[in-house]
Symmetry: C2
Subunit: 211 residues, 2 copies
């Protein structure tokens, strides 16, 4: 790709735009200016226009933005115009919660397998799936063109399992394990470190303004 590199600050904001645009659409609003949107989202209108213009400008002078078009374009940028096959590694509480969450499949993220090493969990039903033995993983990944692996297993096991998956061709990791994966640049890693999130919250408890 020869397009200008988009800064990660911009990418982080796109899903939030997408959410607000979806809500506007649900309310039947089909047109919005950067000014109005900035008030609803609590950001500057300037930033909104700069962000959208990274991708070529979806608005029209004197009019604003068409909500449906803008939402679609941002969806395409985010890769939401296709399906993804997702496997979950680790059938603990969090893995089961992800497997049961219907919202993901609605957005094109199809959870097609869930794996564990614990004989107590293997065979158990989670949502529409049956928990498989980790030993069946390699065959499954080869047969099912898996796009994304969600890692909801103990942090000690995460790097090794991620490495195996990478060798099997998986190119994206949604990492819930409390460790950094340190994979090559050619794979995508998105970390969700809940413990770190909770620490930021406790920091803010002690530092909220005016107390």
């Amino acid at each position: 790709m020869l397009e200008k590199k988009i800064s990660s600050a911009v990418i982080k904001r796109l899903p939030r735009y997408y959410r607000y645009l979806s809500e506007l659409l649900d309310k039947g609003i089909d047109r919005i200016s950067s000014q109005e949107l900035s008030q609803q989202m609590n950001v500057t209108a300037s930033q909104i226009r700069q962000d959208f213009n990274n991708f070529g400008g979806f608005g029209q002078q004197g009019y604003g933005y068409n909500v449906q078009i803008l939402k679609n374009e941002i969806g395409k940028i985010l890769g939401l115009d296709r399906q993804y096959q997702v496997v979950i590694l680790g059938a603990g509480n969090l893995g089961q919660a992800l497997a049961n969450y219907a919202g993901f499949s609605k957005r094109g993220f199809r959870i097609c397998g869930i794996f564990d090493v614990d004989p107590q969990k293997i065979g158990k039903t989670v949502g529409a799936l049956r928990v498989s033995d980790m030993s069946e993983l390699a065959g499954f990944v080869r047969e099912n063109a898996v796009d994304i692996a969600a890692l909801t297993l103990p942090r000690a096991k995460a790097p090794e399992v991620a490495g195996t998956l990478m060798e099997l061709g998986v190119r994206a990791f949604w990492n819930f394990a409390a460790t950094d994966l340190d994979l090559p640049e050619t794979v995508a890693v998105e970390n969700v470190h809940l413990a770190e999130s909770l620490m930021r919250l406790s920091y803010n408890i002690a530092n909220i303004p005016h107390e």
Copy 2:
């Protein structure tokens, strides 16, 4: 407080330092330089020193940092030197997963209640807790000095429940609902928007370098 305002870029990095320092300590390493730490964490040594110096400098020239002391200091900054009473609002998959996760209580976050409106769920056992009826919430919060509310309920209900909790004196919200809460500056809000995290991952799938 008269201390210099710490930028949120710094705060976001503190929990990761804390994690690395904990791991070093587990390995029996009791001393580290910004240089060594920078290599392990993949950041610049300069940034590490700048970050720590926001809080007064915990190192010693010619020596580096004492891992135990540094970890303790960062822990204190993050507010990890005390206990927090946590209630979970919404006993769905995610609420149950949080309630069952032992790691939080190890760090001083004591989950003391879990609430739902669904009669099917009320009375059910989750970890060591029994799911309570949302109608008992007000009394419970008043009696238990609740510090943090984890919101794992549908986004449509989140703002109203958060408002109620705020009136009851809760000053911190760990928000898993796919919406912005828009509460006053005097309360702390930490958002965990899993759907947005997944969208960033799918963006990166289409934009990993060299493909």
